[in-house]
């Protein structure tokens, strides 16, 4: 039975308009979300540079009720793929908050535990760990980080999961004289060390393998301490 063209049109127009409505609603929603994100950005950003600078980040942290040395801020930076330590650009901000679906401070606060879970997934953590190192390279051609910063970073990044290893390693780094800086290879080596070697027995550790020398010395130092 042939339907009347007019009625088809009618239904068409209804469908179309619904789609349109839906589309415009979601885009409106998206645009609205983005607006809110931008609005949030502006609350913390420095007007002249259009970046959230260290001051802004501190304010953000206090609003989120986390310390600015909390690992979750670092995780947030990771989610944003922020390049420069202490600064968030608008693009980075948008990227991070959009991914977290947070457009208000409260939503952002609520998103943090979920973010942490995500980062701590084995598949992501190595990447996050490497990111943490890179994030601290402030100068252009810088390849290594000074011992003091490394100690702080270790505490932040690995302190909750590998407390003992971090404590011992930090102690060692502070008293030794051979190394004034740590490079990416050594940094990643420590991560492997925590994951592969039982602590404090360290029976699996073999200095003849290609462990970074600083870890060889670290292990030696521990065994001398125990003796």
């Amino acid at each position: 039975m042939r339907r009347s063209a007019a009625s088809k049109k009618k239904s068409d127009s209804i469908t179309t308009s619904t789609t349109d409505l839906f589309r415009s609603a979601s885009s409106k929603a998206t645009t609205k979300e983005m607006d809110r994100i931008d609005h949030l950005f502006n609350q913390y950003a420095n007007i002249s540079s259009n970046l959230i600078d260290p001051e802004g980040i501190e304010e953000l942290c206090s609003n989120l009720e986390v310390s600015h040395t909390d690992i979750r801020i670092l995780m947030l930076a990771w989610k944003m793929k922020a390049e420069k330590q202490g600064y968030f650009t608008q693009e980075e901000w948008r990227r991070g908050l959009k991914a977290l679906r947070a457009d208000t401070i409260n939503k952002l606060k609520k998103a943090l535990p979920e973010l942490e879970k995500e980062v701590r997934r084995q598949s992501n953590f190595a990447d996050f760990y490497a990111y943490a190192f890179r994030y601290c390279l402030t100068e252009e051609k810088q390849k290594s980080i000074d011992i003091e910063t490394i100690c702080q970073l270790l505490d932040i990044v690995m302190g909750s999961t590998f407390r003992a290893q971090v404590d011992y390693f930090v102690e060692y780094l502070k008293i030794q004289n051979d190394y004034k800086v740590i490079n990416m290879d050594q940094w990643m080596g420590f991560y492997r060390f925590c994951n592969e070697i039982s602590f404090p027995e360290m029976t699996e550790y073999n200095p003849e393998l290609a462990w970074p020398l600083v870890l060889d010395s670290f292990v030696e130092w521990i065994s001398e301490k125990e003796a």
Binding site: E208, A210, L213
Partner: protein, 683 residues
């Protein structure tokens, strides 16, 4: 008219007569055959070969020629040799005579039958007359008597070994004969047996000597035997026999009696290295060479004879390890010892240049970490060269040449360059002199300046400190700079005044004395030309020298053996409140006095330098290996590194790991993502 056809019988008759005459010539030294005759014979052959068939007798002539040679071997040559079998010399002489005759006969026959050789033989693909002749000699003569010939030769060789004089020229010709017959014959019929004979000869000798003689004498005798055998090769054996011969001798002496040698060594304690090492360590730090040290030197020279010169035992594992163990860790001491030996040819017992060389070479040989030894040696050498001490240039060069032969790689590179620098410097100085002489400028430099140019990087780096030079010196330096600019552009001159020497005339009350001082010392002294008394502060202000260095300078001039300056107060040390006065009352027995400034030995610096060099070396080696292999596991990289650097030092795994990490930071290498034990080369 047609030329007359020569009939075969006739023709051959004629030819045969000629040949017989030739043969007779060998027996009776009367020339029976003339060149014209030969030509006639040739013509006869020619005719007989070019006559038209059936008178072309090429084939028959060929046959007859061969037969006549064959017949000659059997009827004359072999019997003649068989007669002489009883006496070695007679046999060998006869052999050579017959061989020589044979060659001549073949030559003559080839000449006469030349036409045959050229056409008939080629056409019929037959062996040439020469070939046939040689074949006959070999098969019909040589093969029959070669055993006897060999026995004769070896008997003479043994006689010579026992000390008898033999006819070497004859021997040489006999062995040349072997080679002419064929190198294979030389090797199979002679050399093999000669080597066997040598082995059994020396086996007997070695067995009896090892029982009777001291280890010292045994080693020396073995060396003498080896030497004699080598001489034998040069006198008459074929040169290709040398390696095998040497091998046999060495084997009989060192390998066969290895255990006994070891026992003897320990039993006799003649080469006990423990006490030797102790003496080294004790006495090298003494400043005077005493009797005990003389004994030590003698011992080292003895050891040199034994280990370096006696090829039989060189690098023999038995001794090598012992030696190195005894002096492990003393490389710096060894080099210092070398320096002292070279500098002091002492009193009662003069050491010859050769002796000094032996000691140096030996000590270099036994040093364990060659790069430390080399570095200390280089530093000492530099001072010897720059301060004109020690032995002649030729002698230093001779030592360097021997060190170079002994050690592969870069051991002597810098040192040789240093010596070249000095030679160039001297040439340069001559040009400079000429330049100054032709200097038209009014302000010609008033004092003579001799400059030694050192290429940076080749010489050890020397510390020097700046000082405000007096005008006279400044002028000199300016002139030299000008001169140097004319020779080369764009080079920077850094003046090392701490190594410079000045001759300063001191007008003292009693008599003028020439003072030989360092440049720095001279500058201090010259201040006193304007004022007799100067305070420490005055001096420091005028010269702009750091406190430590100035104290050192003033000390040498006022508190040492020769007090050119009087220090107030006359305490043992120099302080900032001191005042210095020109000591006009100074005098000495000689008219020329050297005021020494002790050079800091800076041993720590040398070790630092060596460590630095080692780091570069390891880096370069790792890069080289990784460039080739692209990816390599740590263990393999370490073992390859150790192997490549083994000549100079043994790098430990820690050092290598450190360098790898450095290379990772510098983006030469990266760790493999999958397997952290593997490294990759980053292009």
């Amino acid at each position: 008219m047609e030329p007359k056809i020569i009939d075969f019988e006739q023709g051959w008759d004629y030819i045969e007569t000629g040949i017989t005459a030739m043969k007779r010539q060998f027996e009776v030294p009367v020339p029976e055959i003339t060149p014209e005759h030969i030509l006639d014979l040739y013509t006869a052959v020619y005719k007989m070969c070019t006559q038209r068939s059936p008178h072309d007798f090429s084939s028959q002539l060929y046959q007859k020629c061969c037969e006549t040679m064959e017949e000659y071997m059997n009827s004359t040559v072999l019997p003649a040799l068989n007669e002489k079998l009883g006496d070695e010399y007679m046999l060998l002489r006869e052999l050579l005579k017959r061989w020589s005759n044979h060659k001549m006969l073949v030559r003559l026959l080839s000449a006469i039958f030349h036409y045959l050789n050229r056409y008939f033989i080629v056409r019929e693909s037959l062996p040439s007359i020469e070939k046939v002749g040689m074949g006959y000699f070999r098969d019909l003569v040589y093969n029959k008597i070669q055993c006897k010939v060999r026995e004769a030769v070896l008997a003479l060789v043994d006689k010579e070994r026992e000390g008898e004089d033999i006819d070497r020229k004859l021997m040489k010709r006999v062995l040349e004969f072997y080679v002419e017959i064929g190198m294979e014959r030389y090797e199979q019929d002679f050399e093999t047996f000669m080597l066997k004979d040598t082995a059994s000869y020396y086996s007997r000798k070695a067995s009896s000597w090892i029982q009777e003689d001291s280890i010292h004498d045994y080693i020396f005798k073995s060396e003498q035997c080896l030497q004699k055998e080598k001489e034998r090769v040069s006198h008459y054996l074929h040169f290709s026999s040398e390696p095998n011969l040497v091998k046999v001798v060495k084997h009989e002496f060192s390998v066969v009696h290895e255990n006994q040698i070891l026992e003897k060594t320990h039993a006799e304690r003649q080469i006990s290295l423990g006490p030797l090492a102790k003496i080294f360590k004790q006495h090298v730090t003494d400043t005077t060479i005493n009797a005990k040290e003389q004994v030590l030197i003698r011992k080292v020279i003895e050891l040199h004879e034994m280990y370096m010169v006696t090829e039989c035992f060189q690098n023999h594992t038995l001794f090598h390890k012992d030696l190195k163990r005894a002096v492990a860790g003393s490389d710096a001491l060894l080099a210092t010892f070398c320096d002292r030996i070279i500098l002091k040819k002492w009193g009662s017992e003069e050491l010859s240049d050769e002796d000094i060389e032996k000691v140096v070479i030996f000590l270099a040989y036994i040093s364990d970490e060659k790069d430390i030894f080399a570095e200390f040696y280089r530093k000492k050498l530099a001072l010897r060269l720059l301060l004109n001490r020690g032995v002649s240039d030729d002698h230093e060069r001779s030592i360097l040449t021997k060190l170079k032969q002994q050690n592969r790689g870069q051991f002597t590179f810098k040192m040789e360059r240093m010596m070249t620098d000095l030679t160039l410097s001297r040439e340069n100085q001559n040009s400079f002199k000429e330049y100054v002489a032709s200097y038209n400028h009014v302000a010609k430099p008033g004092i003579g300046l001799t400059v030694t140019l050192l290429t940076s990087g080749i010489w050890p780096s020397y510390k020097t400190f700046g000082i405000n030079l007096p005008n006279e010196m400044v002028k000199c330096i300016e002139v030299f700079k000008e001169f140097y600019e004319t020779k080369t552009k764009g080079r920077k001159l850094t003046w090392i005044h701490s190594l410079g020497t000045c001759h300063v005339n001191g007008q003292f009350d009693q008599k003028p004395i020439e003072l030989i001082v360092s440049t720095h010392q001279a500058v201090v002294l010259l201040l006193f030309n304007t004022k007799d008394k100067l305070s420490y502060n005055d001096i420091q202000t005028q010269l702009n020298v750091g406190h430590e260095d100035l104290v050192w300078l003033l000390y040498s001039l006022s508190c040492g053996k020769y007090k050119i300056l009087i220090k107030e107060p006359a305490t043992e040390t120099v302080s900032r409140t001191d005042v210095f006065e020109f000591n006009s009352k100074f005098t000495a027995r000689m008219c020329r006095v050297k005021i020494p400034l002790p050079h800091v030995n800076d041993r720590k610096k040398v070790i630092e330098d060596v460590d630095k060099d080692r780091r570069y070396a390891i880096n370069a080696t790792i890069v080289r290996i990784m460039k080739g292999k692209k990816a390599l596991g740590l263990q393999q990289l370490v073992s390859e590194c150790v192997e490549q650097l083994n000549q100079m030092f043994k790098p430990d795994i820690k050092a290598i790991k450190m360098r790898i990490e450095d290379l990772i930071t510098r983006d030469f290498l990266e760790r493999d993502r999958e397997n952290p034990n593997i490294f990759r080369y980053l292009a």
